[in-house]
């Protein structure tokens, strides 16, 4: 809410500046989003009088002025034309600094403009921060100044200087969206006096006005007051400026009064042209099916049966609490008015504004909730303003309120208050005195005291609400501070810490292999997911996505990660290694949480796009990237024992270049997937589910007995794979075999065509004692015999 510092001073005798006021409000729970200075340069400019005005000899669009500032007569070059000889102007002399057009500050220096000396500047409203736009320079109103004022600071003669605070009001404080609300808070905290307002009583109830409320759950109070003999006209400047400081503009004296009261007291009210409504049948009800309403801004609204309207026997007159109707609105011919002040169900107003996308100063206040107490006061203040700005003869009407609604009351419980706020160094009476300033009241009740909440608060009912007000008035910083204490928490929920510790370790392992961690939004699109094979109706679908590309939650990390790898490549990055760990979502299936509405699982994925220019392996080992990837994956995953994953969609891989892991997949992507993703080169990817937990680590004694190394070379048909050989070695279970490693594989002209040579190194060791050569040889022969027998079809032989 915009709050004028100057307006505020009319309400409370506050001695600090605008920034001090902002700080006090922030300490009360009303922080501010900035302070705008109005007329920031007024104490820098002086009153000047234009003595001569001629055209600049070199430039038609410039004027040469002589301006009298009392002590001297200054030559001024001016780009504006709206002044005439004899006008009073706001002159910034040499040495002055005014805000300037951009508000960044502008220092006056003597200047030569096309050969003519200028010793200052005639300022415009914009340059003095008095308006956002203006034409020509500011001509000071001559009725308020005379020649004896020449040279005086403009700020001494005109009180235009002000500061507008942009105050944040939390959704629970609809009552604080007005000067009185904020003034009351500041006055209470600092112990200052508040101004009392002029009011005029109205006659009530009367039989001539007979309002109704269809349902107290929609509206808890409704007051209607007929006022005869009002005069339509203009609003005086003082009140126009008041409205301007709240960001509102003046329309007519009658309409302006409704806004003035709203900004003063926080309660919106509406004036109907009384000759266009029926005071005997007016009231608040829900709209009937098919009803329409032409609003003040001439839009035709098709009303919803849940909308609240003010209506009489002829039909809807206004959209309750939101906007008036065109038919019954105030006009130049208005002679009599009907004042409507009500309290509506905030949820209903909020639903209506959302439904029709119509928001107003009134709806903003009603949807935060406004009390039914003091409806009379709103009318009384409006009548006083009518007397001041218009006129009237008789004011009489009727008010109905839901009598069930009473001010909230609670029992004082000092023990409980201190149990939550900490020790308070004030007596009960001192606290009561503080709270009375916020219009709390207290009365004895049994052995304790009953606390009546302030009439204007709609959101309070607990002792905790009183605690908050005590905290706000004393200052949160003055509450008791305590040392850090810690107790072990009870745990009765499924603990995911072991899973997350595991995922942290796996992630760190990827990082050590040069993968950088990406974190993406959880959103994806079915089109993108489909490129990696995720289709069907198992998506978690967002009802109101920001963007069609964010319409579902990802079922896999890979599509988004691969798309990002591509963007990185497009941005000129190379050797792209990305890893991401996080949740994946599906409509059904396994989930890691208890009582989880949809399935959420933890996954980790990686993408590697090798340096494209490294085809010649200039700086990398002379190894195909597939084997570098395979080696990295083996090294990363070897320490972790993972639970097998079910229902894992596997994307299309380059034939045979796939690494099968029980808990996921990895390999080189199929060229068609690359094409679909608009990628060139080669891409290696993997995705794994993180299921299970970190196993307890176990260490063993290191080897102490020596090993015996042997090797064996074979020639076989070229179709025999190293993998098949390795598998056979493993299966043979030759005693003492510690490991087998292929160390030379080649095809050459020395061999017969379609043959290849494979050499393996073997290490044998006995863990309990020294292995004899005899034992090693026996085992080695067993191993060789097994391979020769198994791969007979490949015409395998020892070399």
């Amino acid at each position: 809410m915009k709050l004028s510092y100057k307006v505020f001073l009319d309400w409370v005798d506050f001695s600090g500046g605008a920034k001090d006021l902002a700080n006090v409000l922030a300490d009360l729970g009303f922080p501010n989003d900035g302070i705008t200075a109005v007329g920031g340069g007024l104490d820098q400019v002086v009153v000047g009088k234009v003595l001569t005005k001629t055209k600049h000899p070199e430039a038609d669009r410039l004027n040469l002025l002589t301006v009298d500032i009392g002590s001297e007569q200054l030559p001024i070059v001016c780009g504006a034309h709206n002044m005439k000889v004899g006008d009073f102007v706001a002159l910034a002399p040499i040495g002055a600094t005014i805000p300037g057009k951009d508000g960044q500050g502008m220092a006056m220096k003597e200047a030569k403009i096309r050969g003519q000396t200028s010793k200052g500047m005639c300022c415009s409203l914009v340059e003095l921060q008095l308006a956002n736009e203006s034409e020509g320079i500011l001509i000071l109103p001559s009725e308020k100044i005379s020649d004896k004022d020449l040279g005086r600071k403009v700020s001494e003669l005109f009180d235009w200087q002000d500061w507008i605070l942009e105050v944040d009001i939390t959704p629970n404080r609809g009552d604080a969206l007005c000067v009185r609300g904020l003034a009351r808070e500041v006055a209470a905290k600092l112990g200052l006096k508040m101004k009392t307002l002029n009011t005029i009583k109205w006659k009530n109830p009367v039989s001539t006005v007979n309002p109704f409320i269809e349902s107290f759950s929609d509206a808890s109070g409704f007051a209607a007051c007929l006022v005869n003999g009002v005069k339509f006209g203009e609003t005086p400047e003082k009140w126009q400026n008041f409205l301007k400081s709240f960001g509102a503009r003046s329309i007519s004296n009658l309409v302006d009064i409704t806004n003035i009261v709203m900004f003063e007291l926080g309660h919106p009210l509406h004036f109907f042209d009384a000759d266009k409504v029926d005071a005997q049948t007016i009231g608040v009800r829900r709209a009937r099916p098919g009803e329409t309403l032409v609003l003040l801004n001439d839009t035709v609204l098709e009303l919803h049966p849940d909308d609240l309207v003010i209506a009489d026997a002829t039909g809807p007159l206004s959209l309750a609490g939101v906007m008036g109707g065109a038919k019954s609105s105030i006009s130049e011919t208005t002679k009599n008015i009907l004042i409507e002040v009500a309290s509506f169900n905030p949820a209903s107003i909020r639903a209506t504004t959302r439904r029709h996308q119509i928001f107003s100063e009134s709806s903003v206040r009603f949807e935060k909730g406004l009390t039914i107490f003091h409806l009379d006061e709103v009318i009384e203040r409006a009548l006083a303003l009518l007397k001041e700005l218009s006129d009237f003869e008789i004011a009489a009407g009727t008010k109905i309120v839901d009598k069930q609604i009473q001010p909230k009351q609670i029992l004082w419980d000092r023990g409980r208050i201190e149990a939550k706020l900490g020790k308070i160094g004030k007596t009960d009476d001192e606290l009561f005195e503080f709270l009375r300033r916020l219009e709390y009241s207290f009365e004895p009740k049994g052995s304790t005291v009953a606390v009546n909440f302030p009439w204007y608060r709609t959101d309070v009912q607990h002792l905790e609400d009183v605690m908050e007000d005590i905290g706000r008035l004393l200052g949160y910083e003055n509450l008791e501070k305590k040392p850090l204490v810690s107790f072990e928490s009870k745990k009765f929920w499924k603990d995911l810490t072991p899973e997350l510790k595991l995922s942290d370790q796996i992630l760190d392992s990827f990082i050590s292999f040069g993968f950088s961690e990406a974190i993406h939004l959880s959103f994806s699109s079915p089109a993108l997911e489909k490129k990696l094979g995720y289709e069907g109706d198992d998506f978690v679908v967002v009802e109101n996505p920001i963007h069609s590309e964010k319409s579902v939650l990802r079922r896999s990390i890979l599509p988004g990660l691969l798309a990002r790898a591509k963007e990185n490549a497009f941005n000129g990055e190379d050797e792209i290694r990305l890893v991401e760990v996080g949740p994946i979502y599906s409509a059904s299936g396994e989930t890691i949480f208890e009582e989880s509405p949809k399935a959420e699982r933890l996954s980790i994925a990686c993408v590697w796009l090798p340096r494209p220019q490294d085809k010649k392996h200039l700086w990398n080992p002379n190894t195909d990237p597939f084997f570098i990837f395979k080696g990295m994956m083996e090294s990363i995953w070897s320490p972790f024992k993972m639970r097998p994953a079910r229902n894992l969609q596997i994307p299309a891989f380059y034939p045979k270049r796939i690494l099968n892991h029980p808990h996921g997949f990895a390999g080189e992507l199929h060229p068609t997937v690359l094409k679909a993703m608009d990628l060139s080169g080669r891409a290696f990817v993997g995705e794994w589910l993180i299921q299970g937990r970190l196993a307890d680590e176990r260490y063993e004694f290191p080897f102490i007995y020596p090993s015996i190394d042997m090797d064996a070379s074979f020639v076989a048909g070229e179709n025999l794979s190293v993998g098949a050989m390795m598998e056979c070695f493993q299966k043979t279970k030759a005693p003492y075999l510690e490991w087998v490693r292929p160390y030379d594989i080649f095809q050459s002209e020395d061999l017969k065509p379609k043959k290849k040579s494979m050499t393996f190194a073997m290490r044998y060791r006995n863990l309990e004692r020294t292995l004899t050569l005899e034992e090693a040889k026996n085992s080695h022969e067993q191993l060789i015999a097994s391979v020769l027998k198994t791969f007979q079809p490949f015409e395998i032989a020892l070399r």
Binding site: N172, K420, K490, L507
Partner: protein
């Protein structure tokens, strides 16, 4: 006679010794040094020959000459091996320098990997809160609207719901689902679970995780990370809450960091507070980042609202607790000097790898 002869021989040894010294110092190559050794100490070497003639002297002379010759030999041997080692080292260096390897060519490229800045900050924050005794707890991101709002005392149709623009999730069932707008529904889950477990106390947890809001501009992302804190027991006060946050921010930023509480409003806490930390950039003296205030808004906090206890099956008169929530992205921007929120989710490698330590 014997003396005269022995002195002659001694003179001869001394002459040979100084000759040899000159040759050693003049040697240019290790092989030259070896030659000098052979020519003096070899089988036919000068000094060897002199010593061979020793048998012609009497015992006393032999002893005298022997002493001198030992001295000469020790001295020369030491000079020889010293010179040889010196020359060999120099020759090896010269040989190595002639090697064809161009050491200015680049090394094999091992790319650096970096954790995401959000991860770094998240891990650090979780660790600090663990030290303060808060156990991590987690919950689903696709959440019941009831847990995300109603049970946290967001009344249906209340303007407070506008504080958190919400993504809704399509659902066949009757329950309305949302993408959680904050980590607070995990509070609800824990309170409900505890109510089924005889209201055992204390509860002291931290809840890190992803949250979602319908918002997408330069300072808001539709998804971000939060850490929530929750303590429930019979004595938790505003002072205890303050102590935990004070401990956190001193450890997270630096020991001199101060915090302050300002009144605020959240539907699920009462009293509620906005928490400021002294500006990490200007140390509280005022700068552009803190809008000259010296303070930065870093968390929301408060005492658990009695309605929340009641809605989760507790008796709000007999229990109390505090809660807080903080945004990881904001903390990461402050701590790591990250200039723009959008950088977090663009995941450009040039950004991810840019960390200077």
């Amino acid at each position: 006679m014997a003396e005269l002869t022995s002195s002659k021989t001694i003179d001869l040894l001394k002459t040979l010794s100084s000759e040899a010294k000159e040759k050693i110092s003049a040697a240019k190559l290790a092989v030259d040094v070896e030659q000098v050794r052979v020519s003096y100490f070899g089988k036919k070497g000068f000094i060897s020959e002199v010593l061979a003639s020793l048998k012609n002297f009497n015992a006393e002379a032999r002893k005298e000459i022997g002493q001198v010759s030992n001295q000469v030999r020790e001295e020369l041997e030491s000079l020889l091996s010293q010179k040889k080692a010196e020359l060999e080292t120099r020759e090896l260096d010269q040989k190595l320098l002639k090697d064809q390897l161009d050491p200015t060519a680049p090394g094999v490229f091992y790319p650096r990997g970096e954790l995401h800045p959000i991860r770094k900050v998240l891990r650090e924050a979780v660790q600090i809160f663990e030290k303060a005794g808060l156990t991590p707890a987690y919950g689903p991101e696709v959440e019941y609207e009831n847990y995300c709002f109603d049970k946290l005392n967001f009344k249906p149709g209340h303007a407070a719901r506008d504080m958190q623009a919400t993504f809704f999730v399509k659902n066949q069932g009757t329950e309305r689902l949302v993408l959680r707008t904050h980590t607070s529904p995990v509070q609800v889950r824990i309170l409900l679970k505890a109510a089924q477990n005889n209201f055992e106390l204390p509860i002291r947890v931290q809840i890190p995780g992803r949250v979602y809001r319908v918002d997408d501009d330069s300072t808001h992302a539709p998804m971000f990370h939060q850490i929530e804190g929750l303590a429930v027991d019979r004595t938790a006060t505003m002072g205890d809450l303050r102590a935990v946050l004070d401990y956190f921010f001193r450890n997270f930023f630096d020991e001199k960091t101060k915090i302050r509480f300002r009144p605020s409003f959240f539907p699920f806490t009462e009293p509620s507070a906005e928490v400021d930390a002294s500006c990490v950039f200007c140390k509280g003296s005022g700068c552009k980042v803190c809008k000259q205030s010296g303070w930065l808004e870093v968390a929301g906090a408060g005492l658990v609202h009695p309605e929340v206890f009641d809605l989760c099956g507790w008796d709000s008169k007999s229990v109390q607790g505090w809660a807080f929530g903080l945004g990881i992205e904001r903390l990461a921007m402050l701590k790591l000097g990250i200039p723009d929120l959008r950088l977090f989710f663009e995941n450009r490698l040039s950004f991810l790898r840019a960390a200077q330590k």
